[in-house]
Every structure is written in C-alpha cells, then in structure tokens.
Symmetry: C2
Subunit: 591 residues, 2 copies
C-alpha cells in the first residue's frame, strides 16, 4: 500500500525545485520551511490513510451512470467531503475567496500525494483548481463573488469543456453555440465529450466552464468564447435555483481511472427548463475564450505531469515492496538459506532503480516548473518575465516527460511482479491502466512536443532556453567540483547529455529559421524526451549535492547518468538527421 | 478491423527468414512456394473473417468459471471447432499422428495471424502444439498412439503445468507430488497456478502435462518428473472413461486475454474418483521432467514472441487506419480543404513508422529463429548443430524483444487514437492489455536476457554468435554495395549498431570469463534489446534487398536505421559500464 514519501517530496520541493531559496528571500510571505513540512506531513497522512485504501475498490466498482445521474464508488463522497473540509481544495487559491494563497509548487507537491493515493480521485481537485484559476483571472467581480468561495472551499466542483467529437487536439474545430439572451446571459447548445467529473454525486452543484461560438464569430480558434454554466442556477443569496439545461448523457467505459466519471455532456437540448438552452455567463471577452482557457490549461498541464509522477511513485513503492518480499532463485553472491529475495537479482534491481530515478527526475522537473510559476508571481519586471518564460518552457516537458515515464514506470512495475502483475487483484496493472490517459489528455504528448519546439524554444529569441542550459551546466560544474567518488562518471555523462540537448536545440532553431517546419516537427517528440532526460539527470545531481553525505541520492544520480542518460546521443541524432527518412517513409502510410 | 498481411508475412518467411533457400534446396519435401502462399492465404482468410470479429466481444464477455466448469465466450466453441476442422492444429505435427509435417516457420507465420485475430484464442493452439511436441519427443509409443492423434487433430487440447505459488521463474521450487501406484501409473497431488486453458468447454477432453516430484527425488530442478494427466481417463478403444481427479478451482481476473481462461488447477484432492489422486503417466525418464518440458518450452517461447509480433501488427493496422481517417489540424504542406488527416502530421508519422518497423523487425527475428529450428531438423551433423545453436541463440531474443515491442507498439497505437484510445470500445487499449502478459509468461523477459547472456552467447565457445554477427555484417555489405539512394545512411548506421553489438558481446564474454556473473547479469536486459535492434535493423535491410525496387521496404529500413537503431550506442555503454553504479545504488533498495 502507498505511503506518501513526505521527506523525499519536501527535499525535491525545497532544495531541488528552489522553494527554500524563495523562502529565504521572503518571497512567499509568512510561509516557513517548518510550515511547508507540516503541510506535506498532514497531506501525506490523508493520502496514505484515507485516499489510497479506496483506490482498488474505486477502480473495481467505478463511477456508474443512470438517467443522467452519476453515482461515485462507495466511500468517495465521504472521502471528498473530508478532504474539502481539510481545506485542501483552496491551498493555492486567492485568500480573498477563502483560499490559503500558498505557492503553486506546494499545491503540486500535495497533488502528487492525492494522485498517488488514487488518480481517479485526484482528478476532481485538478479540474476544480483549474476552473478556479480561470475565474480568478478572467471572471467579473460579480461572478467571482458568486462562485469562487464555494469552488475554493470545495463545496462545488468545476469542469473544463473543450472537446467535441470533431474537435480534440484541434480545439478550433468546435461547434458548440452560444446565443445572447438579451439580458446579459447566453444560451448554450451543443455536445461536449470526455468531460472529467462532468457529473457526480459528491457536491450539490457543478460549475462548468464551456467553450462555444457566438453568432457570427470568426472560424477557428479566434471565434471561441468561454462561458460559465452551472448545473444548478445560483440565486443572488447563494442558494441553489432551478436545474440548468445541461446533463450527462453517458459516461465512458475506459482503460483506467474508473472512479473518475468521463462524461458526454449535453447542453441545451431542452431536458431541463422551460425552453431549450443552458443558461451561461460570458467569462472574459468575446472570442477570447481560448486565451482564458489557456490560463487554466497551462497549470492543468503541469498538474497532469504531476499525475505521471504520482502514479510512478506509487507503482515504484509497490514494486519495491514486492521485490523485497518475493523469493525466487539465488542471486549472485547470495549466501542465505534457500531462495533469495528478488530485489537481489541484478535484473530486478535495474528495473527498480530505473523506476525510482525516472520518478524523481520527473518530480523535480514538475516542481521546478511550479516554482517558476510561483517566482513569476512573486517578482516583477524582467525577473517576472524570466520566470514566466521558464515556466512556459518547462510546462510541456513536465507534462509529457512525466506522463511518458509514468506509463513506463508503471509497466516496469507490472514486470517486477511477474505473473502476479497481470492479475488485477495485485493492483500493479491498475497503475498502468490509470497512467495511460495522462499521456493523452490536456494536449497529447505529441502536442506538448510541438509546443515546446515551436513556441517555447523561440522565447526571447532563444535566451530563455539558453539561460536554462547554462543553469544545468552550472550544476554539472558543481558536481564535477564535488569530487565525491559516489558520483562515479555522473559529471561527464550529464555533461554529454546537456551538450546533446544544446546541439539538438540549435539544430531545431536552424530548421525553424529556414522555415522548414516539417523537419522541425519531425524531431519534436524525440527532442522532448532528450530534454527531459538531460534536465532530469541534472536535477538528480542537484538533489544529491543539496544533501551531501547521502549516499543514496548520489548513487541514484550515478545510476541514472551511467545507465539511462546515454539515450540522449541517439535522440540528438534523430532530431538532427531523422526527418528526411521520416518524410520518405511516411509517404507510404497514406491510404 | 484486422486484415491478415499475407504477402508481407510471405515475404518475411521466404526471403528474409530463409525458407525460400531451403525450398530451393529441396530440404522441405514436396513443399513449394506456391503451396506456402496458398496456406498463408487460407489462414489469413480464417484469421480475418472468423477470429478477429470475436476479439472484442470475447474480451468483454471473457471466460467464466462456475463449479469447476469454464464457459468460453459466445462463439468460441464454434470458432475452435471450425479452426480445428480446417486442419490448422496439426500443421507442423508428425504425419504419423495426422499432422502435416510442415515447417515450424510456416506454423509460426500462421500462428501470428491467429494471435493478431485474437490472442486469447490463439493461445489454445500454442499450448496444444507445445504438448504435442513434448509427447512426440518423450512419450512412449503407447501413449503417443493413444493421445497424439486426437491432440494433433485438435479434438483434445493440451496444457503445461509448471507454476505453483512459490515456484514461478524458479521452477525448481515446485512441490507437486507424484506417487507410484504400483501398476505403472502414478497419483498426482498438488496445486498449479496460471494454467492457460486448464479448463474450457470447447473439447471433450484436456490433456495436462504436469511437473511433479517422485518420492525421494533430489531437491531443485533435478528432481522433477513430467506426467501426462488427462481430464478424463481414456479407455483402450479411445473412448472416454471416468473423470480424473483434477479440476479447475478458479480462474484469474486479468489485465488482458480475457477470453483465455487462466486456471488454478487442483490435482488429487479427491473431488473426483474413488480415492484422492489424479491418475498420471510418466513422460520420459524419472527426474528428467524439466528437460522434457524444455522441449516444448523453447518452441513455446518462440510462439510467445510471435504473439508480440501479432499484437503489434494488429495494433499498427488499427492505428494506421485511424490516422488516415481522423482529421485534426493542418499538417505542414497541407493544401486540402479544412483539416488534414492526422497521418500527415510528422509526429503521427513517427509513431506509425516506429510501430511498423519494429513489428517487421521482430517478425523477421522470430521467423529466422523458426527457420533455424527447421534447418536443424532438415540437416545433419555439424550443419544441424550449427542450426540448432542458431535457433537457441535467437529464441530468447525472439521471445523478449518481440514481446517488449509488442507492448511498446500497442501503447503507441493507443496514443495515435488520442482520447479515443483510452475508451475500451475503440479496441486499441485491448491490444495493450493483451500484449502485456507476453513479456511475463514462458519465462519473463529478464529470464530470457539471462538465458541469452549466460547460456547462448557461450555456445561453441562463442563461434555461434560470431557466425551470426558475420552474417549480419554480410547483409550490411550488400546494403552498402547496393548504392540505392532510398537507403540513405542505413548501411553506416546499421554497421555501427552491429559494431555496438559485437563490443557489448565481447564485454559480457570478458566478465563471464573473469567469473563476475553479477556484472554480466546487470547488463543482460539492455544487451538483449541491443541484440534485437541490431538484428532487426539488418533484417529490414535484407527484406528490402530481396525486393529491389520496392521503395517502401527501403524507406522503412532507412527510417529504422536513422531513427531507432541509434539507441544501440547507449545500450552498449550500459552493458560495458553500467554494472558498478547499479550495484552501488541497488544496496539502498534492500528493505
């Protein structure tokens, strides 16, 4: 069973991602290291004691749909109520609306624990937090006052409604309509699919944020507006009014996250109300809905990256426990009686160390990204811009690299369990099933790679990424200077990895400058993996350097550098020279 | 829906694996290329029209257990009956018992199609074929006459009973007992788990091959004997007698292959018969059971490799079809109306080409292994020994590399489908669920890697592997000499890959000569992957060279060489120098 790795997360947050430095500078108000530790400790207890035990049963029973209502698995409503009562929902939200105004990085660190406990449960918090953020940034004061306090407290949950059958990665293709009612409200019509927690029985109301088109709006992404559409209309005194004309048509039968209802939502078909049309309120400006949605999507992408870390952590713990308990064969050097624990077999050790080191590398990338967001808010001017760009740069890497390794680690976890791994009761396969979606939603990992290459690398004409690489090299310099034998060849190997990253970055830059987008896009996915490996390896070094004398951290950095980081050379070559063959062979794929 | 890739498989079998050369030399009797083609064509029709349509429904309904009986999903009994009536079960079996005596390579080529259609269905054939082989090699003439005709025709199916809760990879730990009854028969007692098709309702009888210990047998693997234990005893006239004291206690709730019942079998608890004890007959010599079982296990390992290829092929087809149909965004260079098919996006092309090229590489390795088995049987003396060693060398690679890429390809297939990939109705996730077990059973892929390094590389003091590498280099020489521009840098890149393979092989050899087994075992898994990538890339070249003027094959070889083969350099470094850091970090894993 999962136990929240509180001290490991605290170390990653404070000493690797950089929160300690921010605290020392007084950038985060009254927040102290001790308080950070106490919050992490308390969250860890809740995740370990309350959430994790409901993971397997929640998967088995799943969310169930009947007549437009969705019933959550047994125990989830109580779990959610207690979780919200603990104040966890508003950790990073604005104190004006009841939030605690704590750093995003702390909220992400805590979110990891919810998702390790049960990703299907953790999702509801992610969605509500995203909706809260979008409303904080773009809603009118009146809307904020009406909705935010209850969404921040967790009394109501939030959703994001983008996808339609013909509009997935291509959001611009959406067709949902919004018609002005003449009284300042709108009537929303259309169908949205894949709506996470679009319907459930844990709260009295659900606040949907819905993208739709106004009459005469331009085609594509420039004609999309954002609307707030509550499940129940809200009276001026805050009490609930009549049911709005929106309902859940069905929920999906999915590979994983069975506890999380994935809904097809119907807006405005006349099922509820006097005449068809779901009542909605415009959030932000007309036709600027995508920009508003991106406010929440950026942090949602980071939150999905955290899901990858979360599942990887839980899967690693489970595999490690099994490997210490299960006995088979005699490992080299085993002198005990009978069979040795499989953790002593070199092959199993490779699996376990791959799991642990990838998990920690991804966690560091995600928390460094979160910290950059916090710094962009805590600073001003050029410094704020620097941190904003840093966060933008790391977001696609945090999302895609972490979720890729989430699935990779969960699959290795199944392997460590041998035949038992394939049996659902064991629970190892469940992590693999849950993790798979995180590579897909909130922008597929292919979309993240394209975002990284085409939008993030060019930031400030390359100065953003260049400064980041200098920072990575700085850590490697310190590693080199440490002369600690436990690091083995880490410095040399990581230096090569970052050199590969720089070279691949330059190659992509040259392709884009030459206008050869097809060539640059061909290398996007291998480039993102290369970025994640190089950065992740350096963060493992930073984690070890910040905790001198901790042999485990140094040896894990070394394992990663000497066994996993070498892939960067091949990825670099693929980025630099793989596009031509991809284009040539690709022609034969077209039906 | 899956369509059997008949001409692609025929090409791989005849021109890549080497069957054509054997046919030209007259090594396979009357068998002609035309007949091979006709058999593949007919099998393809059955797999496409009859098996594939039952895949998704078979998964949904699954095999069900009640009171010791297992009910197969709707349609499976009819499917099996028609399949057996087509003569497919005895394709490679001895004509003396009704088989067709065709090459193993042809049987494996056909098995790919069954497993692409439905892996859960294909398994029953694999298990029966394995049992037939073990009986052909080790049973008495009387037992052969009594059981083989009906097992070859498919009237009865067969099973392999090795695993017990405490004895998985470590077969030597098994505890099932066999007591001589004094009349030449034995009484079997014990519990076996993970028994594929241990019980079902498609045939009247099931023939279990069971590993158990005789009284006073040595501990470990040298005290294991093999027994034949039929579900129903068989009278001398071939009719069925009383029920034997063996039954299915339960079936597993698994991640995938739901149609295939995975049974816990209880032997000798007195549920059936006058007194407890399942009646069994010794197969082969006392205490030599494991050697007998290995007769079937080697080919079973190859057959499991084929399962990896099969699922990869089906998943690739599904993803390619979806990518041609689904439209999102505008790919670079797209001049059509509206959104472009996603197959035009470079990132999706990379996914699809990775899927296709890995699938073909793995298929070639498996069929080359099967062909080596055929050659070892069709030749004599040193030549037979050469081919036997070649087959032994390639078996672990065929099993592990193919099943690793099976899961990898199936997971990429989910990604190509975007959000739809996570929805079970789509069927893409089902391939991922099915494929996962193949990395585990018939010896985990970690066990395969250990077998490759410690038992196969040393064959004939390294001459076996060395001759194989020379053969790979020969193909690269021909590739170099072809001067075909469509190959791009393939020759140079594959040359590097084989050089990496040779260097890693030498490094492992030196470690083992120095007696440092822990170090050699630390590199086993990366070494096997390196072997598969290098060999697979060369086979793609051979496929293209054998079909000059086919631009698709040349371009696919090039894509693989320029985009995927580069991983070998990192794998080589890991093999050569990764063990020390693995050992150091591994110490921290022990609880």
């Amino acid at each position: 069973m999962y136990r929240a790795p509180v001290s490991e997360i605290a170390h990653a947050l404070k000493s690797v991602a950089g929160l300690k430095e921010g605290l020392d500078k007084g950038l985060f108000g009254d927040l102290s290291e001790d308080l950070v530790d106490a919050i992490l400790e308390e969250a860890g207890r809740f995740a370990t004691d309350r959430i994790a035990p409901l993971h397997v049963p929640g998967d088995r029973q799943g969310a169930r749909h009947a007549d437009g209502a969705v019933t959550m698995p047994d125990g989830y409503a109580d779990l959610y109520r207690d979780w919200a009562a603990g104040g966890w929902n508003g950790l990073a939200a604005d104190p004006e609306f009841g939030g605690q105004g704590l750093p995003i990085s702390l909220a992400m660190a805590v979110a990891e624990m919810w998702n390790s406990g049960s990703m299907g449960f953790g999702l509801v918090a992610t969605l509500t937090a995203g909706a809260v953020e979008a409303l904080e940034a773009h809603a009118s004061d009146e809307m904020k006052a009406k909705y935010l306090p209850k969404m921040v407290s967790g009394e109501w949950t939030g959703t994001m409604n983008l996808t339609e059958p013909q509009a997935g990665s291509d959001v611009g293709a959406l067709k949902a309509r919004a018609e002005p009612a003449g009284d300042g409200t709108y009537r929303i019509f259309g169908q949205k699919i894949f709506i996470t927690y679009g319907e459930h029985d844990m709260t009295d109301n659900i606040v949907h944020l819905v993208l739709a088109r106004l009459p005469g709006a331009p085609a594509g992404t420039k004609g999309i507006s954002l609307f707030l559409v509550p499940k129940f209309l809200v009276n001026d005194d805050g009490s609930l009014g009549p049911r709005n004309d929106v309902h859940c048509h069905s929920i999906e039968h999915k590979l994983g996250i069975h506890a999380s209802p994935t809904c097809t939502m119907i807006y405005g078909d006349g099922k509820f109300g006097d005449e068809p049309g779901a009542v909605g309120w415009l959030v932000g400006e007309e036709n600027r809905g995508l920009a508003c949605m991106f406010t929440m999507m950026n942090n949602a992408r980071l939150a999905v990256g955290i899901e990858g870390v979360a599942v990887a952590e839980a899967a690693s713990q489970k595999a490690l426990a099994y490997a210490n308990e299960r006995r088979q064969g005699r490992a080299p050097g085993w002198t005990g009686e009978g069979m040795s624990p499989i953790v002593l077999h070199p092959d199993v050790r490779r699996d376990l160390l791959t799991m642990t080191s990838l998990t920690r590398a991804a966690r560091a990338i995600c928390l460094a990204c979160a910290h950059a967001i916090d710094m962009s808010r805590a600073t001003q001017g050029d410094e704020a811009r620097f941190w904003h760009e840093r966060a933008s740069l790391l977001t696609p890497v945090a999302k895609a690299f972490s979720t890729d390794i989430g699935s990779q680690v969960a699959s290795i976890g199944v392997q460590v369990h041998g035949g038992m791994g394939f049996i659902e009761e064991t629970g190892a396969a469940l992590y693999m099933r849950d993790a798979r979606i995180a590579q897909i939603y909130e922008g597929t990992n292919g979309i993240q790679a394209i975002d990284l290459v085409t939008r993030k690398l060019p930031q400030s004409d390359g100065a953003c990424v260049s400064a980041y690489f200098d920072e990575l090299d700085g850590v490697i310099g310190a590693l080199s200077a440490s002369n600690e034998p436990a690091f083995g060849q880490s410095a040399g190997r990581l230096k090569e990895a970052v050199a590969d990253l720089r070279a691949a970055t330059d190659a992509l830059g040259a392709m884009m400058k030459a206008g050869d987008m097809a060539r640059a896009l061909s290398g996007a996915t291998p480039y993102l993996r290369l970025f994640g490996l190089a950065a992740g390896g350096v963060y493992l070094a930073r984690a070890a350097l910040a905790d001198a004398g901790n042999g485990e951290r140094a040896s894990l950095c070394r394992f990663f550098a000497e066994n996993l980081a070498g892939e960067t050379a091949a990825l670099r070559r693929t980025v630099e020279a793989g596009a031509e063959s991809l284009a040539a062979a690709g022609e034969f794929l077209v039906a």
